[in-house]
Amino acid sequence: MDGIHDLGGKQGFGPIAVTESDPAFHEPWEGRLFAITQSVGDRSLSIDWFRNLIELMEPRSYLNEPYFQRWYFAMLTGLVQAGTFSMEEALGQGAEERNPPPPAMTLRDALARDRADCFDYSRPVAAVPRHAPGDVVRTRTHMQASHTRLPGYARGRQGSIIAHHGAHLLPDEGAMGRELAEHLYTVEFDAAELWGEEGQTGDTVTLDLWESYLVDT
């Protein structure tokens, strides 16, 4: 999807608001929202669909809303779409049914849950990898209109494979609610291949790319 989220290489943005250390949450609502995302919702909802939901925000809203508000809108949209909340509930008109709360988690429970949220996205596949470290590959020029993790700035470019990670779940399918694993590679691109004369010799950018993102050279 050629959405506004695909920011790599876009020009016109100003200086970075540098900080060296920060509180975990700058506003109390950020902490509450993060906590809600960690404890509510359909956990079968894939990370890919969640990311896709963020990308589906109206582009001006995407740029203007703070990071955790993008999470908020993605979560709310997903919960309305899944039928968990009615539109009226989502718009703050009160709960349509009231239920007693589930057992409260303690700090220790939440820490244990965070440890358990270490997911393994690798899957065994029968397919033999088409590439190996050292291979020169080219990325696809065109991607489908739905979710993908091949950024625009790295399409149709030539790079070298520097690592093979076995097969991982393909986000393009995960966003559609399907599971398909493909071989995953780290591909290194010379800065000049991506940015022309702007790129300094020796500088590189690496991306983790699935096999179907690549074409043979």
Partner: protein
Amino acid sequence: MAENDPHAAAHLHRHLHSHLPPDPALRVKALESLVVERGLVAPETLDAWVEVYAEHIGPKRGAQVIARAWTDPGFRARLLDNATDAIAEFDFVGNATGHLKAVENTDTQHNLVVCTLCSCYPFSILGMSPGWYKSAEYRARAVREPRKVLGEFGVSLAPEVSVRVWDSTAELRYLVVPQRPEGTEGWDEARLASIVTRNAMIGTDRDLRTEPA
């Protein structure tokens, strides 16, 4: 309405956005009331989650890992080989560190981490990500003009030092291993950990200071 229908989701987004109050705090307060009233979560559970990341999980974890890598060659080798297994020795594996990769700075190589497509970050080892990491400015510029970006962080690279930018496009997450500064010979792990900055582990800091700024 079908699940995972992008067209319907985009429509819902626009509808919600145009009907909800603009104030983020009010939006989240209403959402919290709703999830609690519907019995989806206990308020104490939300308090616990805030405490986890406000008090317990943060960049001090990563700094401990780096200090160990500086002092224990065996651990350094394990960290570079499989960082998820290595941080398990500290019980630090968790949210977004199931496929952690450690990348080491050298005299001729600097590593910088970004996620241009969203803001992927190894939460269980570095905590919540800084605002700048999630900003459009950083996401847009880090891959295209990393040396200018580093300059804004006060990092000036010699021409012989090349930059490798890691754009986290899959579920791998990256942890930069900064170089141990001179003048720290004989320091114990705790003292070494105290000089490892969060930004150094993302790659926007390079020459660590051995004295407080």
